[in-house]
């Protein structure tokens, strides 16, 4: 075998090797995806499309917001980064009315309304732009219940999803988040993250699987209502049919699953 022949054979076999690897990877991907599917637990809460209704009239004090945010961030080991606000990680936070609903501007709008804080989180869109752009399916919409999930072991940290999300709901771990967690506040049942991956709210899929409501809903004293948008008898559907509600930036066609009551 001369050199030329050797290189030929080596080249061809490496191409087949790569092909085999890809086939294996695709198969493995399916297995992983099935593990993140609906729980087999009989007590698990199930829905065709989970939705969250935020009753803004019930959030009166700063404490009302803080309870929900803290419950969420504690349950998911969200680091509390204060030394550089640019690197902040937030799954649930507040912003003022004029920033949550930009474009609804009116110079005569009462200052009180403009400055009114509102809870914001991932909208779990029915037509999510972040899922569309992800090059590895690390973020995906769960077929069974519409939750926009995040596989932080698959994420390559390209941040295309952050450019695509029109709600600013995604955070990137610009540095190792673990030093920013307090031992006593940590939830040992939920994984911590490493640097270089994107994260966001996942509607507490891990709690739903155990038959528990999302942490924020549980902490909200009835200000947050969680339920199945496709079940006409669900509480969320009843409220939406009775009261005036808004979704953020509906004109973009993302069809958010988070509603705001006024």
């Amino acid at each position: 075998m001369d050199r030329r022949e050797f290189i030929k054979i080596a080249g061809i076999s490496s191409i087949f090797g790569l092909g085999g690897l890809t086939a294996f990877g695709t198969l493995k991907g399916k297995l992983e995806a099935s593990q993140t599917g609906p729980s087999q637990n009989p007590q698990a809460l199930k829905a065709k499309r989970w939705a969250l209704v935020i009753d803004t009239t019930k959030f009166k004090t700063e404490e009302d917001f803080k309870r929900c945010i803290d419950a969420c961030h504690k349950a998911h080991n969200v680091p509390h980064i204060t030394d550089n606000i640019k690197h902040e990680i937030k799954w649930m936070w507040t912003d003022t009315y004029e920033h949550v609903f930009p474009g609804v501007e009116d110079e005569y709008l009462a200052e009180k309304v403009k400055e009114m804080p509102m809870l914001v989180l991932c909208n779990h869109c029915d037509n999510p732009a972040c899922v569309r752009v992800c090059p590895t399916k690390a973020t995906f919409k769960r077929k069974s219940d519409g939750i926009v999930m995040m596989d932080m072991h698959r994420c390559i940290g390209c941040r295309f999803c952050m450019a695509a999300c029109p709600y600013g709901a995604r955070s990137f771990n610009y540095k190792d988040p673990r030093p920013y967690m307090k031992e006593e506040d940590m939830n040992p049942e939920f994984p911590t993250r490493m640097k270089g991956v994107v994260e966001k709210c996942t509607f507490c899929y891990e709690r739903l699987a155990k038959g528990l409501m999302p942490a924020c809903v549980e902490a909200s004293n009835g200000a947050l209502i969680f339920g199945d948008l496709e079940d006409p008898n669900s509480e969320v559907r009843k409220i939406l049919s009775e009261r005036h509600s808004y979704r953020r930036r509906p004109e973009l066609g993302t069809r958010p699953s988070v509603y705001y009551l006024f």
């Binding site: 790569l18 690897l21 890809t22 990877g25 695709t26 493995k28 991907g29 550089n84 640019k86 690197h87 902040e88 912003d95 004029e98 920033h99 949550v100 930009p102 474009g103 501007e105 914001v120 732009a129 569309r132 752009v133 992800c134 090059p135 590895t136 399916k137 690390a138 698959r154 994420c155 390559i156 940290g157 390209c158 941040r159 295309f160 952050m162 450019a163 695509a164 999300c165 029109p166 709600y167 600013g168 955070s171 990137f172 771990n173 610009y174 540095k175 190792d176 490493m194 640097k195 270089g196 991956v197 994107v198 930036r249 973009l252 066609g253 993302t254």
Partner: protein, 395 residues
């Protein structure tokens, strides 16, 4: 032919060592970034892409622009470009390698890069971008190497290479169109959500890339015996002129739509970039430098008497290149993130490690380019006459 790359003058080796030292500094900075995360850059939760992705975007254009010398030669038999096609193809190779490196250094989890192949996702534009970039690199390697090899042996290139060349010509606009689609299909980013984005990308690429090629031709002629040809350089000058004008026209269209419609979301990024928004104006001087350079470039390019003077043509090309480098390699990406979707403003400026890494990626590109050009020029110096019997070396 590779042996030609290791036979050079002392000036050649000093240049190679200089590039290697820049690369060395970049490797150290990258190790620092790898250990500490992308937090060592100026990027943030709001401006989640920065200099790296901007440079990637700009360089895809440079890569695509090789077609501007390849197409007239192979499709229109424009003989003056016969000597130049190899320079265009080799520039494309160096540019694609830089593109890939800029993507790589931008990744939060670089060790997982193969996930893009292990979990191919056809609904993601990034998947296609990877495919077309890799394809373009391979096409140019095959075409450039084969044609140059044939020239060296003084035989016509093999017949099979023709269809590959035609494919590479069709392929070139695709790489930049797909890159524009990374931006132009995102809801809620008004600055990028524009149907003319891909066309604008191509226009700026076909001005900036050939402008760089002219500068490279002038450098090659100054430091080697190879002469790319005065007429060829003038012909590329015309290409730069038209494409730069089309590019500025397209930018004007964006301004018209934003400001005549008066829709706040469409105007905000432009106001931020060129005038500053709510007291935030870090990018304003940079964008104005880009605009002034564009005016200088166009002024020198549109009058044939200026353009025909090679000194002024060089100034025009340098201005064009720098203007577009700022506009596309920086402003375009940052502008899309400011203001953020909640209409709040976070500013961005690259940090020191980020800058060192970016310079190192450019140094890798120039190293590849130097080696490839060294090989091409050495072959041409030996062959003496181009395939039309015209002398292609000086003196």
């Amino acid at each position: 032919m590779l042996e030609k790359a290791i036979q050079g003058s002392s000036r050649y080796w000093v240049w190679i060592l200089f590039l290697l030292s820049l690369i060395g500094a970049g490797v150290i900075a990258y190790i620092y970034q790898f250990q500490n995360g992308l937090g060592v850059t100026g990027m943030s939760r709001d401006v989640s892409w920065g200099l790296y992705i901007g440079q990637f975007t700009f360089l895809v254009g440079v890569a695509a622009s090789g077609v501007m010398v390849v197409l007239p030669y192979y499709l229109h038999h424009y003989k003056k470009f016969a000597r130049l096609t190899i320079l265009g193809e080799f520039l494309a190779i160096a540019a694609v390698i830089m593109c890939m490196l800029f993507i790589f250094v931008d990744m939060g989890q670089p060790l997982r890069v193969l996930n893009v192949l292990l979990h191919p996702t056809p609904n993601s534009v990034m998947f296609y971008d990877m495919c077309v970039l890799a394809g373009y690199l391979i096409l140019n390697l095959i075409v450039g190497w084969t044609v140059l090899g044939a020239e060296r042996k003084d035989v016509p290139p093999p017949k099979w290479v023709k269809p590959v060349i035609y494919l590479s010509i069709a392929w070139a606009p695709s790489i930049h169109t797909v890159t524009a689609f990374l931006y132009a299909g995102l809801p809620g980013r008004h600055f990028w959500l524009s149907a003319i984005m891909a066309a604008r990308f191509l226009a700026s690429a076909f001005a900036g890339g050939p402008a760089l090629l002219i500068l490279l031709c002038l450098i090659v002629r100054k430091y080697t015996k190879f002469d790319p040809g005065k007429e060829a350089i003038q012909a590329i000058g015309k290409i730069v002129t038209y494409c730069m004008l089309i590019n500025v026209f397209f930018l004007g269209l964006e301004f018209f739509t934003a400001f005549y419609s008066g829709i706040p979301g469409h105007m905000h990024s432009f106001i931020y970039l060129y005038a500053g928004l709510h007291g935030h104006s870090q990018l304003v001087p940079v964008m104005w430098i880009s605009s002034i350079l564009a005016v200088i470039a166009i002024f020198l390019l549109i009058f044939p008497q200026f353009r025909k003077n090679e000194g002024l043509l060089a100034v025009a090309c340098a201005s064009t290149f720098l203007s577009l480098w700022i506009d596309k390699g920086f402003g375009l990406v940052i502008g899309g993130f400011v203001p953020n979707p909640m209409e709040r403003i976070t500013e961005y400026w690259p940090t020191f490690p980020e800058t060192v890494i970016s310079i190192a990626v450019w140094a890798v590109g120039f190293l590849v380019l130097t080696i490839l050009y060294k090989i091409a020029v050495s072959v041409k110096e030996e062959v003496v006459f181009d395939k039309y019997g015209e002398k292609q070396i000086q003196g």
